[in-house]
């Protein structure tokens, strides 16, 4: 079999609103993009339910994966000027960047929570299993798929290479911050990526940044901080996420109880039974999920149909800020009242916490004791210094509180006083007292 490490006779380009152009010169990358597992990413939104808050956020994992590849391509091009690179390692790096999210499913964060799945494990299965992606990677050599899978799992021997794709400042984050800012339309996600790439210096275990480029790194950190609070942790997006998780919980519960669905949820069955095959998993995308949600609007189960109507028509739960430490004393009464008015508190009274979110912002940790490798600046005398110890801006935001809890509930149902008016008034007064 011909080794797939050649160049294309003519460069291929994708027009991209974030990086202007995405350049593909390697046969390997071009063939990977054409595989059905990679094309599936076109049908999975990058930001899940965020489009219900920021209507522009319709971009997909496909866009982002191409973007990460492009950032990595530019990174490697820059680093190649500063140190020697094995050509095979270059392709391992580019393929890993392109495929790092290939295991994501539709609304994957909620799915993973409800079904205890891990998209990273699926990424590994897709790369190493019986797939078109594996067949393409195998053309580079028998051990090539394992190398790519190990880079993504952070278990590859070359730690510098791993850090380029997964660290506190990596190709993945650089692309998603810029891309998510662009598509949501917010103005605060910007930073100078070209400058960052220019001041990046390869070390044995990680890439560091020339001290003179500190302000570009500061901008990146600020962007990450702003995007965390303004976009990723947006309370309306969280409300949609809460409802989505509850739909999945309800469907799972009903299936376990042999509830007679009007349309058999074939695509979900293996997941509910905990026996998902790679073939089953690859069939899931957002169109399938939304098809079921629309069908379930007509189900006789009032909880499932109500939650689906809410999700599809954006009738989301409202929230109050909540301090569980102070307010837990009123929860038993709240739960009892919910039950009395016919609302199951397991589905209609939900706390969402910051730890439920798959994003974070930069925190330097403690010297030599922290598990996360911090961002280092390369000082003029050759010493390495942790970023927040040099930058007042980063220091100011890195030690801040990052915890938050919100209590979600269906305000519309509680405001309808045609039934149980007293109980509903009491519930509203208890809920409002949560906010202090």
């Amino acid at each position: 079999m011909k080794r797939l490490d050649g160049k294309l006779t003519e460069e291929k380009v994708f027009k991209d609103p974030v990086h202007r152009y995405i350049h593909v010169n390697d046969e390997l990358i071009w063939e990977l993009i054409g595989t059905k597992e990679f094309q599936r990413l076109r049908r999975i939104r990058q930001l899940g339910t965020t489009f219900l808050t920021f209507h522009g956020a319709e971009h997909t994992r496909f866009n982002h994966s191409l973007g990460v590849y492009e950032v990595m391509r530019r990174m490697v091009e820059n680093l190649q000027k500063k140190s020697e690179w094995d050509p095979d390692e270059r392709l391992v790096c580019l393929a890993s960047a392109l495929l790092h999210d290939v295991g994501h499913g539709p609304f994957s964060h909620s799915f993973e929570k409800v079904f205890h799945m891990d998209h990273e494990k699926w990424t590994r299965h897709i790369i190493l299993g019986d797939t078109e992606i594996n067949a393409v990677l195998q053309k580079m050599g028998k051990d090539f798929p394992t190398k790519v899978a190990n880079v993504i799992a952070k278990t590859y021997d070359n730690k510098l290479l791993v850090s380029l794709i997964s660290s506190q400042i990596d190709a993945d984050r650089m692309d998603y911050l810029l891309r998510d800012a662009f598509y949501t339309g917010v103005s605060y996600g910007q930073f100078d990526m070209e400058r960052l790439l220019r001041v990046m210096r390869p070390m044995e275990d990680q890439a560091v940044f020339k001290h003179s480029g500190m302000h570009a790194v500061e901008d990146y950190i600020m962007s990450r901080y702003q995007m965390y609070w303004q976009v990723y942790f947006h309370p309306v997006t969280r409300s949609a996420e809460v409802i989505l998780s509850k739909i999945l919980h309800r469907a799972k519960e009903l299936l376990a109880d042999d509830y007679p669905f009007k349309i058999t949820p074939t695509h979900f069955k293996s997941m509910f039974n905990d026996h998902v095959t790679l073939k089953d998993y690859l069939k899931l995308d957002e169109s399938i999920i939304l098809y079921y949600f629309q069908a379930w609007e007509e189900e006789d189960d009032p909880i499932l149909s109500d939650l689906c109507l809410r999700f599809m028509n954006r009738r989301l739960f409202k929230y109050v800020e909540c301090d569980p430490g102070k307010q837990m004393v009123i929860w038993p009464e709240l739960k009892q009242l919910f039950e009395k008015i016919g609302l199951n508190p397991d589905y209609y009274l939900v706390i969402d916490s910051s730890s439920d979110l798959p994003y974070d912002f930069y925190r330097p940790g403690e010297k030599d004791k922290d598990e996360r490798v911090p961002i280092h600046l390369l000082m003029p005398n050759g010493e390495l210094k942790e970023l927040s110890r040099q930058s007042d801006v980063v220091e100011a935001i890195s030690g801040k509180k990052r915890t938050d809890h919100k209590l979600y509930f269906p305000k519309d149902l509680l405001e309808d006083e045609s039934t149980f008016p007293e109980e509903k008034r009491r519930i509203m007064s208890l809920l409002m007292s949560q906010e202090g």
């Binding site: 278990t155 569980p324 430490g325 939900v350 598990e371």
Partner: protein, 169 residues
């Protein structure tokens, strides 16, 4: 509501005090691998499997004063001691959580050093690989920890012992 937080409180209720963030991280990971229902996401970091989600959840239970965090200075570094508070105990009682009694396993883990648990958890992280490959990985990734062949033997024996206990509980 806050079920995953309550599970952490249940862990402290069964172990008593846990000293060190690294030890706590590894204990939860090992328990997870022994089918105790913790679902925090882990990835391989500097000292073996590490969960940012668990770190954040711990920060939350500490801020809620469900767990007390005491920071103490050691030679050249900070150490953290964690213990379930009265408030946390009351919250746990209110939650009526369905969490298995795995106190024997957890207490045993709590007696081990963080360095040993780091080795055990790293071996478990690679549990889909044959032992020879796991050993090569561990010696490569953990070169700074200077683990010996005897440490490896002890870690494997410990994992066998845990697995046996896990299947009987």
């Amino acid at each position: 509501m806050l079920n995953e937080h309550a599970k952490l409180l249940a862990l402290f209720k069964q172990t008593g005090e846990i000293v060190g963030r690294k030890k706590l991280q590894k204990m939860v990971y090992i328990a997870q691998k022994m089918n105790v229902p913790f679902y925090e996401k882990y990835q391989l970091h500097m000292f073996g499997p590490y969960s940012e989600e668990l770190s954040l959840r711990m920060e939350e239970v500490c801020q809620l004063q469900f767990v007390s965090e005491v920071k103490e200075k050691k030679a050249g570094y900070q150490q953290y001691r964690y213990e379930l508070s009265e408030k946390g105990d009351a919250f746990l009682a209110m939650m009526s959580l369905d969490f298995p009694d795995v106190s024997e396993m957890l207490l045993q883990m709590n007696e081990q050093s963080a360095k040993f648990l780091e080795l055990v958890s790293t071996i478990l992280y690679f549990d889909d690989l044959p032992r020879e490959e796991v050993e090569t990985k561990v010696f490569k990734f953990k070169a700074k920890q200077n683990y010996t062949n005897q440490d490896m033997e002890e870690a494997y024996a410990y994992i066998d012992q845990l697995s046996e206990a896990a299947t009987t509980h």
